[in-house]
Structures are given as structure tokens and as C-alpha cells.
């Protein structure tokens, strides 16, 4: 299918650009490491489990605002415009979303490792690590998906610097709250039968946002 071909090409282009240029990735990695290090210097070790959880997700949330928020910045340059006259809007948004999701998932795992090393794993006594890793992956993917479409809307306005944050904050909040509850339960070591429903909610929100992006983005892209 044409869309799949375009999609693969677009994603490959994004990845190649990143590998060569390294601006976005290095910027975000630096941001994450910096915030984790500052938290380490302020808190040293966090022994309270809810605080451990909340701080991790706040760091990841603001890192994702940086990632997805900048995903449309490169559009301003002229060489991109030619590419996008060839590809359809659906491929563009899907490619950006998938790329951001991938990036965020890698970043999420990296942050988790840094966080665990620096801030410590003292409160993590009964943790179900596989469940928490799933939480990190789904959470990163969700942040990326939601913020990509919001960035797409904000890109078209005159002052899109803070607008992504303003538009994105209310939409991300329920996702964030459910994610915090899901990961907290994972850290407490609760079983899948109790926690599984939260995962369903997170996946549902992801799917809804993808479908909305798929349907609505062509109207945004008409310029």
C-alpha cells in the first residue's frame, strides 16, 4: 500500500537525520540526565514510594514535552517542504507519531535506568519489574502520541512556543493520572488481575488519539 511505503521512507528519513544530526536526541538525553541529576543532588535517595513514582513521571513528562514539541520545528526549513508535497498527510502524522513514540520509549528506558541508579531502588521491595517496564513503555508511547498531534495543531499557529504545553496539558492529565496509578501498583507488586484494567485504559487512550490524529490531520495539513 502506498501509505505503508511512504511511511517507511519517512520514518527512515527521520531516523537517518537523527543519527547524523543528533540534535534532538542529544538535547533530550541531556535534559533527562540533567533533571535526574538535579533531583539526585536535591533528594539524594528517595525512600518514599509514591514520591519516587511521581518524580519519575514528572521528569519523563517534561522530557516528552520537549521531544514532541520540537517534532514540527524542522518543518520551517525549505528542503522538508518538497518531501511533504510528495507524501500524504496521513503518512506524515503516522511517521512522526511512530518516530516520536520510538524515541520516547528509548528515552524512557534510559531515564528509568539512570533514575534507578542515581535516586536508588530502596523503596522498590515488592516491585513487579516487568509490569513497571511495560508502564514506562506504554507511558512514553502515550505521551509521544498525544503530544505529536497537539504539536501538529500548535505548529500552525503564530506563537507555538508555549502553545503545545497549554493545549497538551489538559489532554495529557487523565492519561498521566492513570499512568501514575498503574505504575504505583506495579511498584507495589500488585497482580495483573487488579492492575490490568488500568493498562486497558492507557491503551484505549492511545488508540483514541491515534485514530483522531489519523482522521483530523489531513485537514490541518491543507496549507
Amino acid at each position: 500500500m502506498i501509505v505503508a511505503r511512504e511511511l517507511k521512507a519517512l520514518i527512515k528519513k527521520e531516523i537517518l537525520l537523527e543519527v547524523k544530526n543528533k540534535t534532538a536526541v542529544s538535547g533530550i538525553l541531556l535534559y533527562a540526565v540533567a533533571t535526574i541529576y538535579v533531583s539526585y543532588l536535591s533528594f539524594r535517595q528517595i525512600t518514599d514510594l509514591p514520591a519516587w513514582n511521581a518524580l519519575f513521571w514528572i521528569i519523563l513528562l517534561f522530557a516528552s514535552f520537549n521531544v514532541a514539541g520540537r517534532s514540527f520545528d524542522k518543518e520551517a526549513s525549505g528542503r522538508e517542504v518538497y518531501l511533504y508535497t510528495l507524501a500524504g498527510p496521513v503518512s506524515v502524522i503516522l511517521a512522526k507519531t511512530l518516530f516520536n513514540a520510538l524515541l520516547m520509549m528509548i528515552l524512557g528506558m534510559f531515564s528509568f535506568i539512570c533514575y534507578a541508579v542515581l535516586i536508588g531502588t530502596k523503596p522498590l521491595i515488592h516491585t513487579d519489574y516487568s509490569m513497571f517496564v511495560i508502564a514506562v513503555l506504554i507511558g512514553s508511547m502515550g505521551f509521544a502520541s498525544i503530544l505529536t498531534i497537539i504539536a501538529g495543531i500548535a505548529y500552525k499557529t503564530d506563537n507555538n512556543v508555549g502553545l503545545t504545553a497549554v493545549l497538551g496539558f489538559p489532554v495529557i492529565l487523565p492519561f498521566l493520572l492513570t499512568l501514575i496509578r498503574f505504575s504505583k501498583n506495579a511498584l507495589d507488586g500488585l497482580s495483573w488481575s487488579v492492575n490490568g484494567s488500568y493498562l486497558v485504559v492507557l491503551l484505549l487512550l492511545n488508540v483514541v488519539v491515534w485514530v483522531l490524529g489519523y482522521i483530523l490531520f489531513p485537514y490541518l495539513w491543507r496549507d
Partner: protein, 345 residues
């Protein structure tokens, strides 16, 4: 009147809202059991003081039971002293063996129907014999002989708020639905900005209802649950929906070129409506099923709506949605007239 075809739904909205207001103020509450003392007791002959609400204990047509095990084990009470219409002392002979420690108090009245206070009395020294039943099955569905609103222990008279607070949220959804339809019409039409202006007015009127809903909900919560705000999924979802639409207005203000603005804002409007539905209706259902409902709080989302209540509530919802639609209609026409005047010169 030739214009009646244009006015009928506006008049209907007024009539329905007026009807709901009158009925909400004048319908009495059904009789119920407000309080039972003492709450902990032992087996044997016990004197229990029962405080009713809107009851008529002096009429002599009341019968009392202590029940357990889904109202099948009955301990009848003998009336010892009637203090006033709402205060009565009843003696129960609590047997040695009971199906459970927590007994409910049930009243049956010929005029006022039946009322139950669940988990009213805790018997500390009875021996539990699970599955115990008696042959008598008490008829619990007896209704009052006049039109009443249901009695809920924590809400008392505030149950009337159902017709004012909850209707605000339905009006919000109604207005935003109209706004979204206008946005879709704008995206699928070639002509000018008429639908976009209507969508804008729709969001503004909807936001009015949203704020009214939040404020009335807050006041209601303060005086029934004790706090101005609770950390509940539905409340958070409602507040976030209002934030999303405030962001809509912000988005409108941040784009200067008219055609582009209309298009982008229409896309965001559709996105916002779907997210609002998810946050207000779907998420609470998914996450509240994870914690079984708080015992004493019947007011969250699963009302066992009385049929009487429904007769007033549904017309009120429809009435307020129509009033909201009328407000949007008025504002859209004003906006269109404004536009025509400014573009004519």
C-alpha cells in the same frame, strides 16, 4: 402564528425547565430512616430509638423490623413510645442466633411506603449461623401513596439538585455537540465562516454551563461530602474538559488569519469533543469499576434513579439542552449580524 415553527423548540425548552423547577421545589421527600440509636447492641430485649424523616409515626400504621440476610430474617419490633412524628422508641427481641452481625432497620408504613437503613445495628454477642432464613418474606417495594422523591441518607433534600446540577453537565455536552457539528460543517463546506462563528459561540455557551456545573457541584459536595473537591475520576474529567475548551478559546486568540484559524480551530474542536466524551463518560466507568463504590456515598454516578425522579429529571435535561441551543442560536445570529455589518462597509 406563522413563526411558531421557528419558536416551538424554544418554548418547549422554557416549559420543560419551568416544569422541572416547580416539581423540584414542591415534591416532598419520601419517608426514610435518618438515624438509629444505639448502633451497637447485644442480644435479648433491646430498646432502639429510631429517628425518621418526613415520617408519620403517630399515624399508627407503621411497622418496624430488624432484618438481616437480604431482608429475609425478620425480628419484628413492638412500639413502646411515640415521641413525635419523627421519633419513636421500638423494642426488639434479638435472638441468640443471627445470619450476620449487621442488621438493617426496615419500616413499613401504609401511607409512606417502605424505608430501610442498611447496617443500622451491630449485634456484638450474637452467634452467627449463616444462611438462616425465616418463612416470612417482607414486601419491600411498597411505595408511598403520593408523588415523592427518593430518600437517600447522605443527601436528604439535596437530591433535588439532580435537576439543576446534573442538567448543567448534560447541557454542556449538548452545547459542545452542537459546536462540533458546526465545526464539521465548516470543514466540509466551501463557503465562508458562518459555521465557524456558530461553533465559537457554541463553545462559549457550553463553557458557561461547564462553570455553572463545576460551581454547583462544588457547593453540593461541600455540604454533603464535607469537601469542596474530591479526587474522583469523574470530577477530574469534568474539570479537564472545561480546561480543554478554555484552551480552544486560547487557540482562537493565537491565530490571526481568519481562514486558517477557522480550519485549525475546527480540527481542535472535534478532537476536544471526543476527548471530553472519553474523560467524562468512558474513563469513570472503566476506573470506578476497579474500586467498589464507597459504602456511604450514593451520589457518585450510579444513582438508582427512582421512577418518580426520572419523570422530572429527563424533561429537565431536555429543557436545559434546548435552552442552551437557544442561547447558541441567539449568539450565532448576533455574531452573523455583526459580521455582515462590518463587512458591508
Amino acid at each position: 402564528m406563522g413563526n411558531f415553527k421557528k419558536y416551538w423548540w424554544k418554548l418547549l425548552g422554557c416549559v420543560l425547565v419551568a416544569f422541572s423547577v416547580v416539581m423540584s421545589f414542591t415534591t416532598p421527600l419520601a419517608a426514610g430512616v435518618a438515624e438509629v440509636t444505639p448502633t451497637t447492641t447485644k442480644k435479648g430485649k433491646q430498646l432502639i430509638t429510631i429517628k425518621g424523616y418526613n415520617a408519620h409515626f403517630k399515624s399508627g400504621h407503621n411497622r418496624f423490623w430488624l432484618t438481616g440476610n437480604h431482608h429475609t430474617t425478620l425480628i419484628p419490633g413492638t412500639i413502646k413510645e411515640i415521641i413525635n412524628e419523627n421519633l419513636i422508641k421500638v423494642e426488639f427481641d434479638i435472638p441468640e442466633q443471627l445470619p450476620s452481625n449487621n442488621l438493617a432497620l426496615a419500616v413499613q408504613s401504609r401511607e409512606d411506603g417502605g424505608a430501610v437503613l442498611e447496617a443500622a445495628v451491630f449485634v456484638s454477642d450474637a452467634s452467627i449461623l449463616a444462611g438462616m432464613t425465616t418463612a416470612i418474606q417482607m414486601p419491600m417495594d411498597q411505595k408511598a401513596d403520593h408523588f415523592t422523591f427518593p430518600f437517600k441518607n447522605i443527601l436528604y433534600e439535596t437530591i433535588r439538585n439532580l435537576n439543576f446540577h446534573v442538567t448543567m453537565w448534560f447541557a454542556l455536552i449538548g452545547c459542545m455537540l452542537i459546536s462540533m457539528i458546526r465545526s464539521i460543517q465548516h470543514l466540509s463546506s466551501i463557503e465562508g465562516l458562518k459555521h465557524d462563528r456558530s461553533a465559537n459561540e457554541g463553545v462559549r455557551v457550553g463553557l458557561l454551563f461547564g462553570f455553572l456545573g463545576l460551581i454547583t457541584g462544588s457547593v453540593w459536595a461541600r455540604f454533603t461530602w464535607g469537601a469542596w473537591w474530591v479526587n474522583d475520576t469523574k470530577l477530574n474529567g469534568a474539570a479537564i474538559s472545561v480546561l480543554i475548551y478554555l484552551a480552544y478559546i486560547l487557540l482562537r486568540n493565537s491565530i490571526s488569519e481568519e481562514q486558517k484559524r477557522a480550519r485549525i480551530v475546527a480540527v481542535y474542536n472535534i478532537f476536544a469533543f471526543v476527548m471530553m466524551l472519553v474523560f467524562i463518560m468512558i474513563l469513570p466507568r472503566l476506573t470506578d469499576s476497579l474500586h467498589p463504590g464507597n459504602g456511604g456515598n450514593p451520589a457518585f454516578s450510579n444513582y438508582d434513579l427512582d421512577n418518580n425522579m426520572r419523570m422530572i429529571f429527563y424533561p429537565a435535561v431536555l429543557g436545559w439542552i434546548l435552552i442552551g441551543a437557544w442561547m447558541i442560536n441567539l449568539r450565532s445570529r448576533m455574531s452573523h449580524i455583526n459580521f455582515t455589518i462590518h463587512n458591508h462597509e
